[in-house]
Assembly symmetry: C2
Amino acid sequence: MKPCSTAINNAILITMEPGKAILEEGSILVEGDCIADIRSGAGFPSAPHRQIIDGTHLLVMPGLVNCHTHLPMSLFRGLADDLPLDIWLHEHMFPAEAAQMSPAIAEKWAMHSCRELLLSGTTCCCDGYFYEDYVAKGVEKSGIRAVLGQGVMDFPAPGVPDPGENIAIAEKFIDKWKNKNPLIHPSIFCHSPYTCSARTLKRAKEMADSQEVLFQIHVAETRNEMETVLSNQGERADSVVQYLDGLDILDRHTLMVHCVWLDEKDIDIVKRKNSPVVHCPESNMKLASGIAPVQSFMAAGIEVGLGTDGSASNNDLDLFSEMDMAAKLQKVALYDPCVLKAKSVVEMATLGGARVLGLDHRIGSLAVGKQADLIAINLRQPHLVPLYDPYSMLVYNARGSDVTHVMVAGFFRIEKRIWMAD
Amino acid sequence: MKPCSTAINNAILITMEPGKAILEEGSILVEGDCIADIRSGAGFPSAPHRQIIDGTHLLVMPGLVNCHTHLPMSLFRGLADDLPLDIWLHEHMFPAEAAQMSPAIAEKWAMHSCRELLLSGTTCCCDGYFYEDYVAKGVEKSGIRAVLGQGVMDFPAPGVPDPGENIAIAEKFIDKWKNKNPLIHPSIFCHSPYTCSARTLKRAKEMADSQEVLFQIHVAETRNEMETVLSNQGERADSVVQYLDGLDILDRHTLMVHCVWLDEKDIDIVKRKNSPVVHCPESNMKLASGIAPVQSFMAAGIEVGLGTDGSASNNDLDLFSEMDMAAKLQKVALYDPCVLKAKSVVEMATLGGARVLGLDHRIGSLAVGKQADLIAINLRQPHLVPLYDPYSMLVYNARGSDVTHVMVAGFFRIEKRIWMAD
């Protein structure tokens, strides 16, 4: 029988709540799907139907939020590496998808990716792909929380043989999943400004607004994207961001993924429109796309989340290594070891990510009344000892495999690193 | 009783032997401390006193070679992060060492670091620190293979209160450990051109040559190092490499660590003198030192090994994440995803590292007659599936925690991820 409440007693609690920070010896009580209480000092007593977990040697924190994935693409992990993005995409990924992707494959590999995500401490992801209705079925089985965007492009894609149907298929997906499962938030994912026409982008954004869902899009990932976009559309803008702004699709609910090639003027626009950004350093490095000006985004007050991108371009979904990479990359890019400090990076991977997805009222920090999405890390391992600063430890030496317990909405999906059956 | 031989049957064998590459279904036989046989197809049969391990779902490869560590500094892991190198070194590391480092602490934390190294698949490391005699005792207990360099600087250091004794203490250490344990190779570690005078460097190198041991030195780690060195020494060179070459200390047995700030002329000198280089990308990124021109080193034919640096500047000793970082960093730095391909990076972390340390006749690849230093990786984990290219998998998605078995000189130090008693 599932316990009615769970207490983790006497752990190091990283709350990520502004002003509350860290409880060195903290205890957390979960009732139903919510956090019922948090206290310092003595733990919660035993009670009927209460599971008590000894948190000594555990660090407990909000589950990580991975703001950009392509879940079924774990099937293509390692299929074609060390290649330029355009060759990787057009000569390997698109043909592999055309040949192999099917509803059953999308569901199976989405489920596979969710297991990987949960096993490395991620409790919420934001996905964009095709056959998203089947992706949602795999996601649902795994028990992870997710924003799921049905993909839109102006040429044939898996499950969308006629591009003229792309937005209608996306809207059908949204209608179906809108109130189906409290853990699943449907969305629309326009692949990019170079694979979608201005008309498609505008229509897709209008549909997203009328449905009140997140509009996801890859923006300015590569240096030559601007040329492609502008030559396709006629020279009505100086940059991809200006082009998108001209289409009036940038606002709080437009999630801009990558944002590598933005100049100061672009950053001003993004700030003014209040659009959130997703940083995917490992994918940008591996595909040699460039280094996103994340420090400038943060200085401007733009909300930034962290994403792994799909497993075909990273090649894993471990947000711990992504935190490490993000912090180190920005430092070396700016020749300044003081930028993107460990605590900011942990925030980017938790509460920041929740904000970016518009879910910070429910997840992203440990606070009474919020959803019980949390993870525990086993501190008794050589590479995590000694422990002076938990944020430093989480960014620079912890690994996804250090996660022992993973809870989503009050339910342990992983306990002592063992996968829990439904 | 310890078995007389061990066979791992039907694994994926990554030999790293030039021209022999990968056996998709390979078996390896270890007798005593050496590799006795390697075969494809059917595994080795059972025999008296032979341990047989089923290698199905295991990948077996040479143990990793970490070419730069400061083992006792794991005590300072996470003590002072997100700071400039000079403040980190002079205001935090040197004072912490002065206050806390002792023979017992050096031995204890060296042992701790060796456990971390072994648990993440490293079977040989090259260390430079102080109290190296005590470091050697910790290393000896762990069972790892190591090159150990007693530190030399021209000001007081742990265990060397009088800098005038620095080279004598190093020579005493070398004399003591030269033929004591076949797994331990003594060496000398001159901290840097900015902490050692020209006279010290020359005398230390002469001693290293007469003792026939490796001479280790940090070279051109930061951009302002050149100014410091040249202003200290008078302007007799245009670069740190030219300065060291002018002292006549560059040759096959001088291990140049970091080498971030080298220009084309410097690279020509290093190539001509045949000096090996150690690349430490994570440390260089975290301290914002810069990006070493590794692709240029390799194009010039310079031998390059990979190192984590100490845990105070990384903050771990996991060479798997170092491989990932090295590959991705070089690609984004050169805007070319084709440079530093996965196979080259695996070579850098195995046979290349062995060459850099002058140990490639004994370790670094799986070949009959070589020392049995090998590791096994559990392939049955979501983030390692599917598997198209083992080199890609090792660099881009494997983690140190995926290592299940670690053997050094024929003796399992870790079996099924459990630490083996002596």
